[in-house]
């Protein structure tokens, strides 16, 4: 379980995050949505330990982030960045094995190879193992990076918490693979991992999130279950668009439709 308390962060005198307190629970997918510049990526970077907040603290599994040795937390916390710039001709297999870096001192074990293979299967790229990473399409690269991060937190010691931080995991993916990526996030949550994802597609968020946080100008505009949060009135206020809910008669699911 990850708890943030009163996180405030400014850059160049501008307050980007303003007194943010929230909890990411193990076994749940928490999705953050919000307009551009709301501070979502900054918040994720604070959870990832890349940025230090001006005030407030982040506690993961009972210890503040500063108290976690890097070598230890990297075994249980995976971070998928918005974009990855890898320009060296690694094979796809090798990229995914890099995700196992925290788990070995120099040479991968057979278990590492096995996990890498399974992670590749999970993102539907089993045949891509020997392809050169730099020749892949943008979406394929994103999936390989996802598999790398999954391989990193593949199995956690019994009783230990684990955390996945995904910054726009569906960016650049086709319709089918968006569902694949989020299905995987759900599967990891089911195994007990706390999953935190930033998304832009509200309907995707609604169908895969247990908990949604709408961030607007560094503050929480709404938080709760997708049904609670995705109200036309809230969406109109936060995103400055017209919104309404349409109900699909067959499945009973509601969809958010927006217009400018």
């Amino acid at each position: 379980m990850l708890i943030t308390e009163h996180i405030t962060f400014s850059r160049n005198g501008r307050k980007i995050l303003d007194n943010l307190s929230l909890t990411l629970e193990g076994g749940r997918v928490t999705v953050m949505v919000g307009p551009n510049g709301a501070g979502k990526s900054t918040f994720l970077k604070i959870l990832a330990g890349e940025l230090t907040p001006d005030s407030g603290q982040v506690t993961f599994d009972g210890r503040t982030l500063e108290d976690w040795p890097l070598a230890e937390i990297s075994k249980v916390r995976g971070v998928l960045p918005q974009e990855s710039l890898l320009s060296f001709p690694f094979k796809v297999n090798e990229v995914i094995l890099l995700g196992r870096t925290p788990h070995h001192r120099g040479l991968e074990s057979p278990a590492d190879y096995r996990i890498a293979r399974k992670a590749l299967e999970l993102v539907n790229l089993s045949d891509f193992g020997d392809r050169e990473y730099t020749t892949l399409s943008g979406g394929e690269k994103q999936l390989v990076q996802t598999a790398r991060v999954l391989a990193q937190v593949w199995e956690t010691p019994a009783g230990a918490a684990s955390l996945l931080l995904l910054d726009e995991p569906t960016a650049g993916l086709d319709l089918c693979h968006r569902f694949v990526a989020l299905r995987i996030a759900r599967d990891f949550a089911e195994k007990g991992t706390a999953v935190f994802a930033i998304l832009h597609d509200l309907n995707l968020a609604a169908s895969y999130a247990d908990h949604v946080i709408i961030l607007c100008r560094g503050k929480i505009a709404a938080t709760g279950s997708p049904d609670d949060v995705f109200q036309p009135k809230i969406i109109e206020e936060v995103f400055q668009v017209k919104a309404k809910l349409l109900r699909d008669q067959d499945s009973g699911t509601s969809y958010i439709v927006t217009q400018s």
Partner: protein, 358 residues
């Protein structure tokens, strides 16, 4: 999957490179204005170790003459070529991993030039300072000055071209141009105040040469080269993670700050040591890691040792060429590596011009 099989192939490649290095080293010892045969080398070594292997024909030379050529000339030169080649290639591989860019060659981005400035300063004005230092520091004075120059240039190019974990490739290369120009001007200035003999010495040094090989010089640079060569492999895992990006490496549990500083300091140490004795020998750090990547991929666990071996082999080959082409006169080896390396660099730019290097 064939993970294990592939590693076998990589190890085979390493073994092949080691064999190549040994063969070239033997050639380098044997060939020259005076040819020494392999059998004679064995006999010479044997008789020094006290075992009299019987009569070996040394005509038209005496055993003493051949031994002194072997011991005082060929052997130090061969070892120097290996040390310098390995140092430059591994330094190049390290810089490229750190900058996450295959164009980061120590001579292109100004590390060598910075070291050259340091070395020149001590060579010319140093005699007045040297008397103040304890005598045992004398042979280390030039390498040390080169080291500080090299460190300065590396830190400069690093801080100018790395912004929020990304490398600004243009800035990286432009910083190199600026430092190179500064070093050229500085060396030119020093040439102005040199006498004729010093001038000639300077010219050949600044073109890159191996002709200053001696046991004393080898001893002076050995620690600067051997320590980094021994330490770098411990950072192979970190450098691999670095290729993904700096924050990605951190997320994989790598102490990025320590990695960066270690790589920078050790790279500057290796490059500076070679510059102090041999001047600027360009493109080895660019060409060698690139060739190795084509063969075994970018995994630093293989890239680093393979670059060391191929770097040594390449410089031995270049030195043989430099000695043989116009014997008994010899070309400065920096001229040979530039003649081979610059077209290689241009072709690298040509084939990658559509690629965005971030």
């Amino acid at each position: 999957m064939s993970g294990a099989a592939k590693n076998t192939r990589k190890r085979l490649f390493l073994t092949g490179l080691a064999v190549l290095l040994v063969v070239l080293a033997l050639l380098s010892i044997c060939l020259g204005p005076v040819k020494i045969e392999f059998g004679q080398i064995i006999a010479l070594a044997g008789s020094r170790l006290g075992s009299n292997a019987g009569a070996v024909d040394y005509a038209p030379f005496t055993e003493e003459t051949l031994w002194s050529i072997l011991w005082a000339v060929r052997l130090p030169r061969t070892l120097l070529a290996i040390l310098v080649g390995a140092a430059l290639a591994v330094a190049g591989a390290g810089m490229q991993g750190l900058f996450r860019n295959p164009l980061a060659d120590p001579s292109l981005i100004g590390v060598s030039a910075g070291a050259a400035m340091g070395a020149v300063a001590v060579m010319v004005i140093g005699e007045n300072i040297l008397v103040l230092l304890p005598g045992w520091l004398d042979p280390l004075a030039v390498p040390l000055a080169a080291f500080f120059g090299g460190i300065g240039a590396t830190l400069l190019v690093y801080h100018l071209s790395k912004v929020e974990g990304r490398t600004l490739v243009a800035t990286m290369l432009l910083t190199g141009i600026a430092v190179n120009a500064l070093a050229a001007a500085f060396i030119g200035l020093m040439m102005n105040v040199s006498d004729n003999r010093e001038l000639r010495d300077f010219v050949f040094w600044s073109l890159g040469r191996l002709s200053d090989a001696s046991w004393k010089n080898l001893g002076a640079i050995a620690p600067f080269v051997l320590v980094p060569l021994a330490v770098y492999p411990f950072y192979a895992r970190a450098l691999n993670a670095f290729l993904l990006g700096e924050s990605e490496a951190r997320h994989l549990g790598i102490d990025t700050q320590r990695t960066k500083m270690t790589i920078i300091f050790l790279c500057a140490a290796m490059v500076s040591a070679t510059v102090a004795i041999c001047g600027i020998i360009g493109f080895v750090g660019l060409v060698v890691p690139h060739l190795v990547r084509l063969m075994v991929g970018p995994d630093h666990r293989y890239l680093l040792p393979a670059s060391a071996l191929l770097g040594g082999a390449l410089l031995l080959a270049a030195d043989l060429l430099a000695r043989m082409v116009n014997a008994p006169a010899e070309l400065p080896i920096g001229v040979v590596t530039a003649l081979l390396g610059a077209p290689f660099f241009l072709s690298l730019l040509y084939f990658s011009r559509h690629r965005v290097w971030a």
